[in-house]
Symmetry: C2
Subunit: 345 residues, 2 copies
């Protein structure tokens, strides 16, 4: 053995000294990360009032989740409470602010997953449940199923004691106007597409106005992760389209051994790439870090022609929020209650 | 370098000689694998006539797929044609033979995925489409979406020119009697469960009579894989329950770089484990063989308390058909047209 010990000790000492001097040494431990949708969110198109409203809503959502976690509640409780704040706000495409379908309805999807047990629940195409995220949780906890759709899911939610509302609860002028614009734009596109095999389909050229989702991932004091996603889907959608949000493995996934993930963006690409579970698989099978795995997942979506973003949190409290759109409404809170809210790149 | 070359040559020669003498040397290249559901399929409970009927139907399905592949059609064409045979047979829980929901309806789900492009399509909760697998394919090819549910999916299928049927088309006496038995058994279970948090839920104690799915994976002359799955869901299901069959990554997945997969069994466990994509991920990230990856996936389902089986085929023509139930209706065909049909362990 010719290895000289002396230089090794010197190097270690120097490295420790550098670490001690560096601000990164106090590695932040995050306990929650949220998103409120990704898309062409440009400062140029934003009014100060609108930006403030988003920042306040995201901050309120994070505070709510943090209080739950601080009080010793489970990560699932925190995720549900946080998403309630965003579902009840007209700003986000979920719950109250859900976009309209082609037929002038609000059809919502949601999913939750528990990182400790890999139990999961999801609903799709529901129109009368005030907080779809709670319906997803009820499916997980009060049934032996994982996914329920349409009227059946609504019947279940009602029997589970959830708050039901008339479809008119979800009316907002902003979203209604958005539908009228989308119908006009899609009709123009349908004419252009005439004769193509895709002509039956509502166009997605103006997809940035069409998508949007909310999501949260939390890490509780017991060290358990939970993830949830809730969405109003796609403006002017037809044919009962379902995106990635309620698909376990695509838009939502959680596993204590790897990470909790919630995605937002062009759902079809997230389904085809099984994005949320793919991140977990890369971490487990390739031993990739949360940062590298999430970046790789977004890169795959981009290469295929899709866009969007995602949030992820691992058991050590590392957080990642990659996206390949102009912006993503997002925020984090640390174990000390430090809140950070971001919108643009 | 002290390595002696002589023994190495000797060893190589001996190994080649042994290989030449062994029947395994002529490694079969499979071009299609199918399943018709997994469960408590015991020879003791089977009449010779019933067994023959299943063997004939599976053989016919494989012949149909093989003829398509031999004629140079795509793996997607072969998968669709093969699944049509099983959907049109009253023997399998898909299409014509779909089981009844609690409300006496037949709600079907299906999905397809193209291994070359990772394009995918799925429908869930459809009641008037004669061949749901074709609706899944139409979603993939004629829309920019991946998944459609309920009435919306039916409207799309109709506009796409698919064969629509009245719901009564799916009536079979066998399945209707099965529903009556399930209602009786589930009521008994509901009484036992009274007060438990799961009492709202239809029991799954007699799940072997409740599940069943058909699926096919094919490899065409161009070397492309395709997978498809079609199901009538779960007897006596309530609340618009959706299983793994139409969930890309759970019950259905295909990727030329890894494998095509179609699953059958207790769907909730397949969703929570993202089974179909997990096999692909283990092959890609851990460099596991098709045999090892599929065995590991079934083991995970079993450890969690679930059961079922799956079929898988890779680009080299290797096939795997693992299951942890008593039996699985299944079969393969090689590039030379050799058909094998199996039922029991």
């Amino acid at each position: 053995m010719n290895i000289t010990i002396q230089p090794l000790i010197k190097f270690t000492f120097l490295a420790l000294l550098l670490l001690a001097m560096s601000p990164v040494v106090a590695q932040k431990k995050y306990v929650m990360v949220i998103h409120g949708g990704a898309g062409t969110i440009l400062k140029a198109n934003m009014t100060p009032a609108k930006e403030l409203a988003y920042r306040e809503a995201l901050t309120q959502a994070l505070k709510t989740g943090y209080e739950a976690l601080k009080a010793g509640k489970s990560s699932m409780d925190a995720v549900e409470a946080t998403i309630h704040v965003m579902e009840d706000s007209p700003l986000f495409n979920a719950g109250k602010g859900a976009v309209f379908t082609h037929d002038g309805k609000n059809e919502m999807d949601a999913a939750v997953m528990d990182g400790k047990t890999q139990m999961a629940g999801a609903v799709a195409g529901v129109t009368t449940i005030r907080n779809p995220i709670s319906a997803a949780r009820a499916v997980m906890e009060k049934s032996e199923h994982v996914m329920m759709v349409g009227k059946g899911a609504e019947l279940f939610a009602k029997e589970a004691g959830l708050k039901m509302v008339p479809p008119s609860y979800f009316y907002t002028k902003d979203r209604w106007d958005g539908l009228q614009r989308a119908i006009k734009e899609d009709s123009a596109k349908a004419v252009l597409d005439h004769g193509s095999k895709k002509s039956m389909l509502m166009g997605v050229q103006n997809k940035d106005n069409k998508f949007g989702t909310v999501g949260a991932v939390a890490l509780d004091q017991a060290g358990n992760l939970a993830a949830g996603t809730s969405t109003g889907g796609m403006t002017n959608k037809k044919y009962g389209r379902v995106g990635d949000a309620p698909i376990i493995g695509a838009g939502t996934y959680a596993n204590n051994e790897t990470a909790g993930i919630s995605a937002t963006g062009w759902g079809e690409f997230y389904i085809r790439n099984v994005v949320a579970y793919d991140i977990s698989a890369m971490m487990e099978y390739k031993k990739m870090s949360l940062q590298d795995a999430t970046a790789a997942a977004i890169e795959k979506v981009g290469k295929m022609g899709g866009d969007g973003g995602l949030i992820a949190l691992d058991r050590a409290g590392n957080v990642a929020m990659p996206f390949n759109t102009a912006g993503m409404y997002r925020g984090t809170v640390t174990e000390n209650g430090e809140i950070e809210v971001l919108i643009y790149k």
